[in-house]
């Protein structure tokens, strides 16, 4: 299919299905792409994101891994050094830690350690965040660890259309990519133009202004983008105009888009599921403050998880940022 061709079919897809179609397109476009992870074969993964791909591409290109996350990433590095383009699935966010050394000390640094001689184009897909009533270790937002690591690109999709194109761009990227999938949004459904990413679309490291507004800039990523958009709809009824930015790229940050918006509105709120202490939201608040200090009307506010371990499922509604907490922060920055 020609990128961006007018004939590209539009389909109603859930975010999970849009990822599935994106992975399929990536595999059609490049025979070096292989998928690996726990239960991704016949089962299609616990969230069914790889459903049908084993049947279509065979077990040489879609294979179940033994249950060892360090080995998933470590062998993916070896496959990448051999010329393959592995896409690893980590089953849940809280299961990535056994692979931490292979990601942070090996994958992220391999290019720099080799003086730029080695390229390791590995994509690590991680279902992220809470809101599905899960047991412990299945609801975490751990992006700060990876954003803090030079050599990695960290991205989060928030909509079916972006999920479809961003996964293809991540797989095609020559740098290693941590690809976060908002697990409570897997079933969100929207129109998706199926096929290769359009040539005139946003680059993988660019943020998107998801809704234009004039009073307050609300910055969100992954699962909190919808929360922020819903909050903007409510705020509009109250006569407040929110500009919502879907960050998309968590590292590197698209600071020009963030500071451009914050300079226009003079107020910014960052919304994330992760605890706010030493978080990506903290980095964004600091950067906006440094660059927009003269035009800001209020300190940048952060809305996020509390500095406690992720709570039991029946308490997660109190922990996760919701529309009311976003609007509360909006009111605080407007009160200045």
């Amino acid at each position: 299919m020609t990128p961006g061709s007018a004939a590209a079919p539009t389909r109603q897809l859930s975010l999970g299905k849009a990822l599935n179609a994106g992975l399929r397109q990536a595999m059609l476009d490049d025979p070096s792409v292989v998928l690996m992870g726990e239960d991704i074969g016949a089962l299609g993964g616990v969230f069914r994101v790889t459903e049908g791909l084993l049947d279509e591409f065979g077990e040489q290109r879609v294979f179940n891994s033994p249950l060892a996350e360090s080995a998933i990433v470590g062998t993916a590095i070896g496959l990448a050094l051999r010329g393959y383009r592995p896409v690893c699935e980590i089953q849940f966010d809280g299961f990535v830690y056994p692979a931490f050394d292979q990601i942070v000390s090996q994958l992220a640094k391999m290019r720099a350690r080799s003086g730029g001689r080695l390229t390791v184009p590995v994509t690590i897909r991680i279902p992220v965040g809470g809101g599905i009533g899960a047991v412990e270790h299945h609801s975490e937002s751990n992006e700060a660890y990876f954003c803090h690591t030079a050599g990695l690109r960290v991205v989060a999709c928030a909509s079916p259309a972006d999920a479809h194109t961003m996964i293809q761009e991540a797989v095609a990227c020559d740098d290693p990519v941590i690809f976060y999938e908002p697990k409570r949004r897997y079933w969100d459904t929207a129109d998706v133009v199926v096929g290769s990413p359009p040539a005139d679309g946003l680059a993988l490291d660019q943020a998107r202004i998801a809704r234009h507004g004039s009073d307050v800039t609300v910055i969100a990523w992954g699962p909190t983008v919808r929360t922020a958009l819903d909050a903007a709809t409510v705020a509009e009824q109250e006569g407040k105009s929110l500009e919502v930015i879907d960050l998309r790229s968590l590292s590197p940050l698209d600071l020009p888009t963030l500071t451009g918006s914050a300079a226009r509105t003079g107020r910014a709120v960052v919304v994330q599921e992760a605890p706010t202490f030493t978080s990506l939201g903290s980095e964004i608040a600091a950067s906006i403050t440094e660059q927009c200090f003269d035009v800001l009307e209020a300190p940048v506010a952060r809305v996020g998880g509390y500095n406690i371990p992720y709570p039991p499922a029946r308490a997660e509604e109190q922990y996760l940022p919701d529309i009311d907490r976003v609007l509360d922060a909006v009111d605080r920055v407007l009160a200045h």
């Binding site: 050094l81 010329g83 290019r111 350690r113 080799s114 030079a150 050599g151 020559d174 740098d175 020009p256």
Partner: protein, 370 residues
């Protein structure tokens, strides 16, 4: 807790769990053939002399690097003294097209693979993290986090198998590193995927100050056998036995057999690094015991016994070793200072706008002093 010490003719003041099995040995200490050896090896004068030459050169390189560290020219050096037979014998058992994933002490392997002294020393002088082009030498850069490279080797071998390329991947791992989870995961995955990889374990009996008996209650080759690997236990100070054992395992792997594991019993003659003080944790009696089992001495006796070591050749080899030492020193002193701009450039394949901004700020700050 004191270690249970059993003096054994082969193991020395022992800390190795004894399996009731002696390692395969081709040459006895006096350089004569061991009639109990099961290994097949066609020993020609050319093979024996070339192995001896590479061990002599490796030792001279190692000695010169050690001196350079003591003179402040290297930040750190990890000596491979005593392990030359294990390294040269195994590396020479491979084809040039085979891939090597080393740990960090495989200087003799690097020499066999044609890595230049400057490329090898640059990392230890603090000029870079990996000095040679892995593709050119078919040898990956060193891995300093223990055991991580065994997974890289396994993944690489999975790719070789998918490509039906006929190559063998060999990865070096020490006795201490076998305690890492990555190594067990690699052994298991390699066996499950039946990938063409050989794990070459240099059991040098010490992980800094920790004896191998503290690492494992089971002989390491037996552990590997439990994962389903094709294993051999070999006298790592006997270069001919190492060469024969590695060749045997590597060719069985190449022919489609299960992955291999070679445990080579050797000894780390120096400290773990130039910052280490081995006198704090091991006796001079133990070190002297292994000094008498030096791998170079043993092969030299074999060469002498066979009349394969004429004075002219030995003299030429001495000269070559001294020239190498001089080259090592000159190359070390001529290494260019690293530039932070190069680290910026090597961080991402495609530099991000954010990183470009930071790099520009760094450059402007530096230039402000001009």
């Amino acid at each position: 807790m004191s270690a249970h010490v059993v003096h054994d003719v082969l193991h020395g003041p022992a800390q190795v769990p004894v399996a009731g099995q002696a390692p395969q040995q081709y040459l006895r200490m006096d350089g004569t053939l061991n009639p109990a050896c099961d290994l097949e090896l066609a020993v020609t004068p050319q093979l024996a002399r070339s192995l001896y030459r590479e061990m002599v050169l490796a030792r001279r390189l190692d000695q010169e690097a050690y001196h350079l560290q003591r003179q402040g020219e290297l930040g750190l050096w990890l000596s491979c003294r005593g392990q030359e037979a294990a390294q040269v014998g195994s590396a020479r058992a491979l084809r040039e097209s085979d891939w090597i994933f080393p740990a960090y002490r495989e200087h003799a392997v690097a020499l066999v693979r044609g890595v230049a002294p400057a490329e090898l020393l640059a990392q230890w002088r603090g000029c870079c993290h990996g000095g040679w082009d892995p593709a050119r030498h078919r040898m990956h850069i060193y891995s300093l986090v223990l055991g991580t490279q065994t997974l890289h080797a396994t993944g690489y071998a999975m790719g070789v198998r998918a490509d039906a390329a006929g190559e063998v991947v060999l990865t070096y791992v020490g006795d201490g590193a076998t305690s890492q989870g990555d190594v067990s995961e690699a052994l298991n995955w390699a066996a499950v995927t039946r990938s063409p990889v050989v794990f070459f374990c240099q059991n040098n009996q010490w992980a800094i100050s920790t004896r191998v008996g503290t690492q494992t209650a089971t002989p390491l080759h037996q552990r590997a056998a439990g994962f389903g690997l094709d294993t051999v236990y070999v006298d790592g100070n006997d270069v001919l036995a190492v060469h024969a054992a590695t060749t045997m395992i590597a060719e069985r792997v190449r022919a489609g057999g299960v992955p291999g594991f070679v445990e080579a019993l050797t000894y780390r003659m120096a400290g773990h690094s130039t910052s280490d003080d081995p006198t704090r944790y091991r006796s001079s009696e133990e070190t002297e015991y292994w000094e008498r089992r030096d791998p170079l001495t043993r092969l030299r006796r074999f060469l002498d016994n066979n009349g394969w070591s004429d004075p002219a050749w030995l003299s030429e080899l001495d000269g070559e070793a001294e020239q190498l030492a001089a080259d090592v020193r000159a190359a070390c002193l001529a290494l260019p200072e690293p530039r932070l701009e190069d680290v910026f450039a090597a961080t991402l394949v495609r530099e991000s706008a954010a990183l470009a901004t930071e790099r520009a700020a760094f450059t402007a700050y530096q230039d402000s002093f001009l």
